[in-house]
């Protein structure tokens, strides 16, 4: 090998700044790529939220035909709360109970698919997602058949005296909660599955090697490690369940109406926009409060 040495620096003219044109184009490019999508989201997601906020402060005595005036009518909020607090309470109550049921069902399901299913894993996953392949509304209507007074389920429950001879399932809170649980269960199971699937079974073996009982293994290893999926799944279940009104409408009666039913009728039947907007805003604020309170307690804000 010859002439291998650190080359003297005399030939090294100082390198100028990198050629500018290419760099400028590159700096603009991401914004050009983002522009159409971001504009769409701003215009049709963000701006409408402000419009909704404004509508919630309209003069409540106006109407769609005579026009609304923005009078900063903050009184709309206490008014609607006073009028509709039962529906608010029901929304959160039903969604909360449905969430508990969904956790009781969804955790074993996600765990079994992730850790126990072996080569059936993909098939079982498809079974979880499959309900969503067909229409939400058509599926919810199918529950009307299942829970019907003449159906086998009610018959069975009456026979074993879990229901009285005239007891029903349809048009009761039970039906609404069952419907909510059913409709949003996959949203809870999928993220939960994703984090349980990453769980290394050797950790469970290690825990059991280190004298942990099955219950302790679950509490000390499985549960903490599945927390990100659990939190994500809980939110993905709870947010749409609270805002849902299809189950209450199709499986319940006005006695089971949730806040969504009220908002729907405020906007589309009674055409009382200030009231509807105020209710919508309250719903969002309440959900955000619950979500952030929950995240703070769960201590993992990075899931957002």
């Amino acid at each position: 090998m010859t002439a291998l040495a650190h080359v003297p620096t005399s030939t090294g003219q100082p390198a100028g700044p990198p050629p500018p044109p290419r760099h400028d184009r590159h700096r603009l490019l991401p914004y050009l790529l983002l522009l159409p999508g971001a504009a769409w989201l701003l215009l049709f997601f963000a701006v409408p939220l402000f419009q909704l906020a404004a509508a919630s402060l309209y003069d409540p005595t106006g109407s769609l035909s005579t026009g609304y005036a923005l009078t900063w009518a903050f009184g709309n909020y206490p008014d609607v709360l006073q009028a509709y607090w039962p529906q608010f309470a029901r929304s959160f109550g039903y969604a909360g109970i449905a969430l508990l049921l969904a956790l009781l069902m969804g955790y074993p399901l996600a765990y079994a698919i992730a850790q126990k299913a072996g080569r059936w894993k993909n098939l079982l996953l498809v079974c979880v997602v499959a309900p969503m392949f067909t229409s939400f509304l058509v599926r919810t209507l199918a529950w009307k058949t299942i829970l019907s007074d003449n159906g086998w389920l009610v018959g069975l429950l009456r026979d074993v005296h879990l229901l009285g001879p005239d007891g029903r399932l349809l048009a009761t809170p039970v039906a609404v909660v069952l419907g909510l649980t059913y409709n949003f269960l996959p949203f809870l199971v999928l993220p939960l599955y994703a984090s349980l699937e990453r769980l290394d079974y050797r950790l469970l073996e290690a825990a059991s090697d280190l004298y942990a009982s099955p219950v302790q293994i679950f509490r000390k290893v499985t549960l903490p490690l599945s927390m990100p999926g659990l939190i994500a799944g809980t939110l993905l279940f709870f947010i749409p369940a609270t805002g849902d009104y299809i189950n209450a409408e199709l499986l319940g009666t006005p006695n089971e109406y949730m806040i969504g039913n009220v908002i729907d009728s405020a906007f589309l039947v009674r055409l009382d926009y200030p009231q509807g907007a105020a209710l919508s805003f309250l719903l969002m604020a309440a959900i955000l409060a619950v979500v952030f309170g929950y995240l703070r307690r769960a201590g993992t804000e990075e899931v957002l």
Binding site: L4, H6, V7, T9, G12, A15, P18
Partner: protein
């Protein structure tokens, strides 16, 4: 490699040496490559050796054009290519873990470069190239259907078919198992000799670098610590870093008083030694006295030490038998543990732990290195792996 005519591939005449001049790359406040200058002669097999994060891959990427230097030049012959886009450079790369296009078959992977340069009839070239890497019948397969070693050869063929002026290899053997790696080392070397293209090979494996390259540059913290032929560097390292990166060394903290004669006298831990002046990188003040473990011999008593050898006494504190050799640790009177390898040639008996021994060496095998004030002995300790196995 006689078949590739200049006509079909449009190869230009060899452009000359690859020279990096004051090449610097900063990422934010981190300097990955620091004012690097070196010359890689045309047609040589050059290895950039260093631990991960030492800047060797960044250097390679700047030559390939995948990274823009913060300052400095990349000269191919007399032409500065530092600002050329990668697809305009007569330089090709064999990527770490190969980066074969998963959606194209092997034939199309190899033909990719020729097609991009507008060459229509690529069949002959591609088949010849596949033959060179001994994958004749694999053209229609997908990369995922090939083993690691086969993928590696496809990556090599895909780059070589373009007859680049310089071929860059980014840890090309890192993903292969030991046996395959050996085999590919020999094959790469054979191909390089055959095609005569300049190879720049980046690796963290000192043995790979030493066995394959004509010239090795050891990089550390964005700079070149030492550069030279592998044997020269191993026998006479320039810095303590090189002494322990290329193989291992026993480095004893010593003071040199300087000398005008052919010997440099040093004092270490109260004892006096000397080193030939030609093997002293420093001859005054704080120095390291270095001896490679395999050049450190063990004897039962001082009267067995050959004439002219220098020695220290100690006790065997650890002996591990690794087949071809036995590695001993010898605890010296001042507490440091020297490492010594004894070939299991069947000539001498094995020494038990606790035996009092004399460790001796030929001063012509020792070397002196500069030492930062306050640094203590740096001894090899037990090797993580036996000599002869690469990491």
């Amino acid at each position: 490699m006689t078949g590739m005519s200049a006509k079909t591939t449009g190869r230009a005449a060899p452009a000359g040496d690859l020279r990096l001049v004051n090449l610097t790359k900063r990422f934010g406040i981190f300097t990955a490559v620091d004012d690097l200058s070196l010359t890689i002669p045309q047609g040589s097999f050059f290895a950039l050796l260093g631990a991960s994060g030492c800047g060797k891959t960044t250097t390679l990427r700047m030559i390939a054009g995948l990274e823009q230097p913060t300052s400095g030049q990349v000269l191919l012959g007399d032409r500065d290519i530092a600002r050329l886009r990668p697809y305009k450079r007569p330089v090709n790369t064999v990527f770490q873990s190969y980066a074969l296009f998963p959606h194209l078959n092997i034939f199309e992977n190899v033909a990719f470069g020729l097609r991009r340069r507008g060459i229509r009839s690529v069949d002959d070239e591609v088949l010849r190239m596949l033959a060179l890497v001994q994958l004749d019948d694999f053209g229609h397969r997908r990369p995922a259907q090939l083993s690691g070693g086969q993928q590696q050869r496809v990556a090599l063929a895909r780059a070589l078919i373009n007859q680049p002026q310089v071929l860059l290899l980014d840890e090309p053997l890192g993903a292969l198992d030991l046996k395959l790696r050996r085999q590919m080392q020999i094959e790469l070397k054979r191909i390089q000799t055959e095609v005569g293209i300049t190879f720049v090979h980046v690796t963290h494996d000192q043995e790979e670098a030493m066995t394959m390259a004509d010239t090795v540059a050891v990089m550390n913290a964005g700079r070149i610590e030492q550069l030279g032929a592998p044997a020269d560097m191993y026998e006479y390292p320039a810095t303590a870093f090189v002494a322990n990166f290329l193989g291992q060394s026993n480095l004893l903290a010593a003071e040199a008083a300087g000398g005008s004669g052919s010997e440099v006298p040093v004092t270490a831990h109260g004892a006096r030694f000397s080193v030939p002046a030609g093997r002293a990188r420093a001859d005054r003040g704080e120095v390291y006295l270095g001896v490679r473990p395999e050049k450190l011999h063990l004897a039962d008593s001082a009267d067995q030490v050959p004439a002219g050898h220098q020695h220290v006494t100690g006790v065997v504190s650890d002996a591990s038998y690794v087949g071809v050799s036995t590695q001993y640790l010898v605890r010296t009177g001042w507490g440091s543990e020297l490492s010594a390898f004894a070939a299991n040639s069947g000539l001498g008996g094995r020494l038990p732990v606790g035996a009092a021994v004399v460790a001796h060496w030929d001063p012509r095998h020792a070397f002196l290195l500069p030492r930062a004030p306050g640094q203590d002995d740096r001894t090899a300790g037990l090797l993580d792996e036996p000599v002869g196995a690469s990491s």
